[in-house]
């Protein structure tokens, strides 16, 4: 039993989640250094705290770059992500409605930047982009669980809204069609771009939901330390993603010291998370900085059932 249990069959994403400061970035770096030996790995940090570069010992940028053989990394900046995300829509607008550019529509869209929930949308959209990239494994160092849970639940929220909008738009098109058929005197079949777009969107969201529920493609790793608060947060995180039948692939216990308190904590985790493999990362006195140190530290990691 070793870290390879997290390897996907062909392409997959590992989401490393946990309370702030429990060592998510450390585990992400350790795991990506380990997986690069046999898989083309991408390590990405979408945590606004941005520590991945410091741990790996390289200064990372918005664009993906190869920092050592078979290992790529990036630390995208949230502001630019949002701009890119909205830019797509502005391009479509400018292309389809050239005369509206004179109305300088981008001011109108700047207002959308500030609309609540834009971060979650952008992060989810970024995850979908990662899915399409041709890395065999992508390790994502996620922001603290409060944001990650909302990002993971977003597809379900979107699908609830899209279904309601489809229902309403269907009614509208039903009336319009009946009216136009009466006016034209014969049965007409109108097609409405907005309804088509909405239905296309609902397909995509369904695919997204299937992707998140697919245990092969997406493995969620919960990181904690032997303390009350991170443990409670992990339990709450597990319960909330359980509602959407997304399950935890593994539990990481960081800074493990073989003393009575930790052992008792381990038993409690075993009873609470049955059947989920546990990855024990022993406490290390010196800071784990740089690929060389990380590589040496890997054999110390124990993986138990």
């Amino acid at each position: 039993m070793d870290l390879s249990i997290l390897f996907p069959k062909e392409k997959g994403i590992i989401l490393v989640c946990g309370k702030g400061g429990v060592g998510k970035t450390t585990f992400s770096s350790l795991f990506s250094v380990y997986s690069r030996k046999n898989l083309k790995t991408l390590a990405v940090s979408i945590d606004p705290a941005h520590h991945l570069g410091d741990v790996l010992g390289y200064s990372l940028s918005h664009q993906i770059k190869e920092i050592s053989n078979n290992l790529y990394a990036a630390e995208p900046d949230m502001e630019r992500l949002i701009k890119e995300y909205i830019q797509g829509s502005i391009e479509i607008l400018k292309y389809t409605y050239k005369e509206l550019v004179a109305m300088n529509l981008d001011k109108y869209l700047d207002a959308l930047k500030e609309s609540p929930g834009i971060e979650e949308d952008t992060l989810l959209d970024y995850i979908w982009k990662l899915k399409k990239m041709d890395f065999e494994i992508t390790v994502v160092d996620t922001p603290p669980t409060s944001i990650t849970t909302r990002v993971l639940k977003l597809p379900w929220l979107q699908s609830m809204w899209v279904e309601r909008l489809i229902d309403l738009r269907g009614k509208i098109m039903g009336y319009k069609e009946t009216i136009e058929s009466i006016k034209a005197g014969k049965k007409l079949k109108l097609d409405d771009p907005i309804l088509n777009e909405l239905i296309k969107m609902s397909q995509e969201i369904e695919d997204g939901k299937k992707f998140l529920n697919n245990k092969e493609k997406v493995k969620i790793v919960g990181v904690t330390v032997a303390e009350k608060l991170p443990y409670l947060e992990l339990k709450r995180f597990r319960n909330s993603i359980m509602e959407r039948n997304i399950s935890l692939a593994a539990i990481v216990i960081n800074r493990y010291v073989d003393d009575a308190k930790n052992r008792e904590f381990l038993n409690e985790i075993n009873s609470e998370f049955i059947g989920i493999p546990k990855i024990i990362i022993p406490f290390s006195s010196e800071d784990l900085i740089g690929i060389y140190k990380l590589e040496n530290f890997i054999e110390k990691i124990r993986v138990i059932e």
Partner: protein
């Protein structure tokens, strides 16, 4: 010849007006309901500018470009939001 043409013209225009009048009668309150639903749809989509809970912006952003034509209706409807009385009297066709 003159009166024959004029008669034909009157008959044709009468036929046209009666069929138009029939259509207007048959469709008027449905059109009203259509416009109300359209207004609700637009409010749902772009409500966050006036404080209504709105869908995740990923949905709004994708539909925005397609929505421009109906925006005109949205503006004129909201300009008249204050006095819905007239619309109600048309929709219900009160004959007093």
């Amino acid at each position: 010849m003159k009166t024959k043409q004029r008669l034909k013209y009157y008959f044709k225009s009468f036929k046209f007006f009666s069929s138009e009048y029939m259509k207007m009668n048959a469709v008027q309150s449905m059109e009203n309901e259509y416009s109300q639903l359209l207004n609700v749809f637009l409010l749902l989509l772009f409500g966050n500018f006036i404080g209504l809970p709105s869908p995740p912006s990923s949905i709004t952003l994708r539909i925005l470009p397609l929505e421009i034509n109906e925006m005109k209706y949205f503006h004129s409807k909201s300009a008249r939001a204050g006095d819905a009385l007239g619309d109600l009297f048309d929709a219900f066709n009160v004959e007093i």
